[in-house]
């Protein structure tokens, strides 16, 4: 073979190998590394998890950019790990990659009892269901304003104009954050989650720290102000007045960590379920027709959207002791990743799990909110925003038509979209 032919041959082999990751069925089972962020951006992760559920539901990846980790891929196994907080700890890290110690900021989602319990209890009243009932009229008014400002018959980015705008306004309300500065919230959220520990390397830990310091300073001012006013039901006031958390500002990294938790928790999640719903209804036009004919299906559809989208792909735990789990030996200190996106496609629990069905029976039975003591605190806020949004969309538009390929986020944690071009059709 000539040198040129050899190089060509090599190129063919390289190209083949370079693309092999797109088809997990072509790879040796033991080599499967489903935590690579590119799998989610390129939307090829589903086949990885399908194979793992079938062939190796509790899977060990010995070598990855995040170190070794276990993947839990089946619904019931996820429930078992998630509700066993005594063995599977949330302490320090709840995503597959470890944050470097010098940038460690404690937050209650990444704590075990008792710290988790007292901090969560302090913040939770802001999003308690009975509290939300009082917010419904305000949210509806804002949804209407956002929708009424949209252009009809002309292309725009749904992510910016609706998904981000609505969740940002909701967050500003939950923090009682100055409304005119509200766009700082998604900015801080994006910087906080764009780290190498979830497979995104576009922001270094140093850059991230600088931006989050600004976030900390801004909220410290709000904290001082709220502390000197009577207690009310926003996150900052609740934390500043609760006997268990009133000194949190003395530990700025812990204050920052909890701010990030509450901002990210209310931002990246519902944002992407809002975009995801539009995409799903476009891919399944018969479901959109069914919805228009049966608007009372909106609440059920909201659960189905949250299942189908699974806005957070995973949560990670750390084993506190050696444990045999489904025949595998998990060792003390091992990383254990619960792939919610996989549990939500588990055919053994969810019939026709790959299908988006707005009238699905037991639609609430999904793992997107997690289970056990760390179950999503804002689940009812999320459901309320989505419900009101779709009720008001149905009141106004004949269709929200997707007119181009959505751009997906590069992350193994946040499953979402940066760009979703749509055209609205008037009723």
């Amino acid at each position: 073979m000539s040198q040129a032919a050899a190089i060509d041959q090599q190129r063919v082999t390289d190209t083949h190998d370079a693309d092999a990751w797109r088809d997990p069925w072509s790879l040796p089972l033991e080599s499967l590394d489903p935590a690579r962020a590119i799998l989610f951006k390129e939307n090829v992760h589903e086949e990885y998890f399908r194979r793992l559920r079938q062939e190796d539901p509790v899977h060990y990846t010995a070598d990855s950019e995040f170190g070794a980790y276990w993947s839990i891929t089946k619904y019931n196994d996820i429930v078992a790990v998630d509700s066993n907080h005594k063995v599977f700890s949330s302490h320090k890290n709840i995503v597959v990659g470890d944050a470097p110690d010098e940038f460690y900021s404690p937050m209650f989602i990444a704590q075990d009892p008792p710290i988790h319990d007292v901090q969560r209890r302090a913040a939770q009243p802001a999003v308690a269901p009975t509290q939300l009932a009082d917010l419904e009229a305000l949210i509806r008014q804002r949804v209407c304003t956002i929708l009424d400002d949209l252009p009809v018959g002309e292309e725009f980015n749904w992510v910016d104009r609706v998904s981000i705008e609505l969740t940002t306004q909701m967050l500003a309300t939950l923090f009682d954050f100055p409304f005119e500065d509200r766009h700082l919230l998604p900015y801080w959220s994006d910087v906080a989650t764009a780290t190498p520990s979830t497979g995104r390397s576009d922001v270094t830990f140093e850059e991230r720290n600088k931006v989050l310091q600004e976030c900390l300073n801004y909220f410290a001012q709000l904290w001082h102000q709220r502390k000197n006013e009577p207690r009310k039901f926003d996150f900052i006031s609740l934390l500043a007045h609760d006997p268990e958390t009133k000194d949190m500002l003395d530990n700025p990294m812990e204050f920052l960590g909890n701010l990030i938790l509450l901002i990210v928790g209310g931002n990246d999640t519902t944002r992407n379920s809002i975009s995801g719903g539009v995409i799903q209804l476009n891919r399944a036009p018969e479901q959109w027709e069914k919805l228009k004919a049966n608007p009372e299906l909106v609440p059920n559809m909201v659960s189905e959207i949250i299942r189908y989208q699974t806005p957070l792909a995973h949560m990670r735990r750390t084993a506190l002791e050696d444990i045999e789990f489904q025949g595998k030996q998990i060792k003390k200190g091992d990383r254990v990743v619960m792939w919610y996106i996989s549990g939500n496609r588990d055919e053994e629990v969810i019939e026709e799990a790959d299908k988006f069905k707005i009238d699905r029976e037991n639609a609430r039975r999904h793992v997107s909110f997690g289970f056990g003591i760390h179950r999503c605190m804002g689940n009812r806020v999320a459901e309320m925003q989505l419900r009101i949004l779709w009720e008001e969309i149905l009141n106004r538009f004949d269709a929200v038509e997707v007119v181009g390929e959505p751009e997906r986020v590069l992350s193994n944690f946040v499953l979402g979209y940066t760009h979703l071009p749509v055209i609205l059709h008037a009723k």
């Binding site: 429930v79 998630d82 509700s83 907080h85 009892p113 319990d117 969560r120 209890r121 939770q124 308690a128 269901p129 009975t130 009932a133 609430r364 039975r365 909110f369 289970f371 056990g372 003591i373 179950r375 605190m377 689940n379 009812r380």
Partner: protein, 106 residues
């Protein structure tokens, strides 16, 4: 078959007859009693089947378990009579049980 009465927050009562052996949560869900979500399907992992057990029945239904206590720590408006209904197993002894439902499930 034990009979259970579920009373909604607005006072509406639902009487159901169910075989012994299942849970109070399952009795509600299989009879379409509104107000019990049971998102986790009975794994004591979501606290969306919260009920208040009628005082007269407190001794008979037994104590909260450890995990149940942990989950109730994060439910809304918890009282001394609060239980997760997926953790109450129906026996013939519980024939006539009355439970009230909270305003909302978190």
């Amino acid at each position: 078959m034990p009979k259970i009465t579920f009373i909604e927050f607005d006072g509406t009562a639902h009487e159901v007859d169910v075989p012994a052996g299942g849970s109070v949560m399952e009795a509600a869900v299989s009879n379409n009693v509104p107000g019990i979500d049971a998102d986790c399907g009975g794994a004591c992992a979501c606290a969306t089947c919260h009920v208040f057990v009628n005082e007269a029945w407190m001794d008979k239904v037994g104590e909260r378990g450890d995990m149940e206590q942990s989950m109730l720590d994060f439910a809304e408006n918890v009282r001394t009579t609060s239980r997760l209904s997926c953790q109450i197993v129906l026996t013939d002894e519980l024939d006539g049980l009355v439970v009230d439902m909270p305003e909302a499930q978190h």
